[in-house]
């Protein structure tokens, strides 16, 4: 605020030109700079486009491309791609393209919801640990170490056997074992933030711990959290595909991409490529797009890498 006032005085004095002679733009907020940096990264824009495409494909696609995904039709099983079934049919006679849309809904829903669960737990946990500090902090961090040492896929599989039936339960299972990294990141941010003057000011004004965390610390730690979210979604989508592939995922008639792929594997020798390769490509494209976005966001948030 004080800065804007000074700018007004400076303007008439024609110091609008930087020493190099370039135009001095209006003072931009960090978020807008980050957005510009993000948009200048070609891979990130492509990645974002792919994600938008898949969201539309999976959620709007079934409204345009009507298929029967409820009753099996064994007479039409394993048909190659044709005019009536653009990607052929699977073992149960379901239209494969429609099935991929349905599986994609599950994959995306679980991916985003699990990431949301992980980030929420992790951010709160890290903020509390970092703010309170001391013995409490080191105890909480040892708990993070314990969770980091638990082999993720094994525990998630064990839980999925019992609780893997629905999108909601699967997301909770995955999210509950993915919050360690965001917890560490947020704690690190909070440790530096809490020494800053505005936190001191807020404390002096009488803010309680909860208000400090929700109003001051978490919004300022948002950068690292946002970068981590995209990686979380990517990892969760991969985790779902692993669980589905091993056969412990969603229950019939629900389906996810990994599940579909493992159903197609037994027909590999028969050359039924449409049962495996399109759905595999969907997994790879989605995860890769999210990784592109995550990498670009990390670069955009990192002030040191920002082009001046």
């Amino acid at each position: 605020m004080a800065f804007q006032g000074r700018e007004k005085i400076v303007q008439p004095l024609d110091v609008q030109r930087a020493p190099e002679g370039g135009e001095v733009g209006a003072i931009q907020s960090g978020w807008r700079l980050a957005l510009r940096e993000f948009m200048s990264n070609r891979l990130a824009v492509i990645g974002f486009g792919i994600i938008v495409f898949f969201v539309l494909f999976c959620f709007v696609g079934p409204l345009i491309y009507h298929t029967n995904q409820i009753s099996t039709n064994l007479i039409d099983a394993n048909q190659p791609p044709s005019g009536s079934h653009l990607l052929g049919t699977d073992t149960d006679g379901f239209d494969e393209l429609g099935r991929i849309m349905k599986g994609g809904q599950a994959a995306l829903e679980v991916g985003f919801f699990a990431a949301f669960v992980a980030i929420t737990i992790g951010a709160m946990y890290g903020a509390v640990a970092g703010l309170v500090g001391g013995f409490f902090d080191s105890t909480l961090m040892r708990v993070v170490d314990v969770f980091l040492s638990v082999p993720f896929l094994f525990v998630v599989l064990i839980l999925a056997v019992k609780y893997g039936a629905t999108v909601l339960s699967l997301s909770l299972v995955i999210g509950f074992f993915s919050w360690q990294v965001p917890a560490r990141l947020v704690r690190g941010e909070v440790l530096t933030l809490r020494e800053r003057d505005f936190i001191l000011a807020a404390r002096t004004a009488g803010s309680g711990r909860w208000r400090l965390i929700s109003r001051h610390l978490l919004p300022n730690a948002l950068g690292v959290v946002i970068v981590n979210v995209t990686f979380q979604v990517a990892d969760a989508i991969l985790a779902v595909s692993y669980i589905g592939f091993l056969g412990f995922g969603l229950h019939f008639p629900n389906v996810d991409w990994g599940d579909q792929l493992s159903d197609g594997i037994q027909y590999l020798q028969d050359g039924y490529w449409w049962l495996t390769f399109p759905v595999g490509a969907c997994i790879v494209l989605t995860v890769m797009a999210l990784n592109f976005i995550g990498d670009a966001l990390r670069d955009a948030m990192d002030v040191r890498l920002r082009r001046r």
Binding site: R142, V143, D145, V146, F147, S149, V150, P151, F152, L153, F154, V155, L157, I158, L159, V161, K162, A234, L238, S241, Y242, F245, L246, G247, F248, G258, L261, S262, I265, L268, Q269, W273, T276, F277, G280, I283, V284, V287, M288, N291, F292
Partner: protein
């Protein structure tokens, strides 16, 4: 150094105890007792209760945990009622095969990824670098089973060079010499690991290349090959030590999926089969073993790094 080591080992023991409590309690919450597996689904509740009492499954959880850990420290990993065999003997049948598959994949991945990363950093933004980076990006986003599937389709079905099933022999020596059957499972794990390792190796090599001592080495007229060999390799490889320690859980997970895909009779496949049969003593023992392996792996990586890098003096 000694003080640091002792403190580091102390933390490890605490973490191992924490992990064991967590995993034990979690599994017990899901599968309280193997009574049903032993007595059958139609056994009356009174028989189940009697069996639980006789075998200590109605003790307080903490007593059961201490009992289990006591047995564990004496080398007893529990008893699989489904297989009617001790968990230890089940592991012993298979552990060598899993160690071989993971071990050779890890070694090959490092042997490939380190020079590849250095090459990419030295020839930054060349065609070779771009191809390798793109390949790494794709592989990094690929589930292990899909990569294995592609390899099977190309190298076992379209061009029948290798077998699509891993060696089924129980003799480790036969497995090791059976290249026809083992190439694809090993290649699957190696490619997935190389994708992750080479990215880190590339970025750590680029960091090192920007250091002053590289400039000095070049300025004194050392040929580029020697600059890379003498000054870069050692320094750039240091982060790899930590990375390998951290990637052990991924390696175990990759092992599980690869063994399932290629039907390789290792520990991963045992875990998968136990999941299907809800054979929870095996699940418990294997998850615990995995967790302890991860903790020890990180400890070894940390110690190796302090020895290899004299700049780290964590007293």
């Amino acid at each position: 150094m000694i003080a640091y080591l002792l403190r580091r080992i102390g933390t490890c023991i605490i973490v191992v105890i924490g992990v064991s409590i967590f995993i034990f309690f979690l599994l017990h919450a899901i599968y309280p007792s193997p009574a049903r597996a032993v007595l059958g689904l139609r056994a009356p509740q009174s028989t189940v209760n009697a069996w639980n009492k006789a075998n200590g499954y109605d003790d307080p959880l903490i007593v059961q945990y201490l009992h289990y850990m006591n047995q564990l420290l004496h080398g007893n990993l529990g008893y699989s009622y489904v297989e009617n065999q001790s968990v230890l003997s089940l592991f012993q049948e298979r552990v060598a095969r899993s160690v071989y598959l993971s071990g050779i994949s890890l070694v090959l991945a490092v042997v490939i990824a380190v020079p590849l990363g250095i090459f990419q950093a030295a020839k930054r933004n060349s065609i070779g670098d771009n191809i390798a980076t793109s390949a790494a990006f794709i592989l990094y986003s690929m589930p292990v089973f899909f990569l294995g599937l592609i390899l099977i389709q190309v190298f076992a079905l379209s061009f029948p060079i290798f077998s699509f099933e891993a060696s089924q022999s129980t003799s480790l020596w036969t497995v090791i010499t059976d290249w026809n059957a083992m190439t694809l499972p090993i290649a699957t794990l190696v490619l997935i690991s190389v994708a992750a390792y080479s990215r880190y190796m590339r970025s750590s090599s680029m960091d090192v290349l920007a250091q002053d001592y590289i400039k000095v080495a070049r300025a004194k007229g050392l040929p580029e090959r020697l600059v890379l060999l003498r000054h870069l390799v050692r320094n750039a490889s240091l982060p790899m030590v930590t990375l390998i320690g951290l990637s052990l859980p991924l390696l175990l997970a990759g092992n599980l999926v690869t063994e399932e895909l290629f039907n390789y009779q290792g520990l991963g496949l045992l875990f998968y089969e136990s999941l299907e049969k809800v054979d929870y003593p095996v699940l418990l023992a294997y998850t615990l073993a995995g967790a302890i392996l991860v903790v020890i792996g990180n400890l070894i990586a940390d110690i190796a790094l302090t020895i290899a890098d004299p700049r780290i003096r964590l007293a």
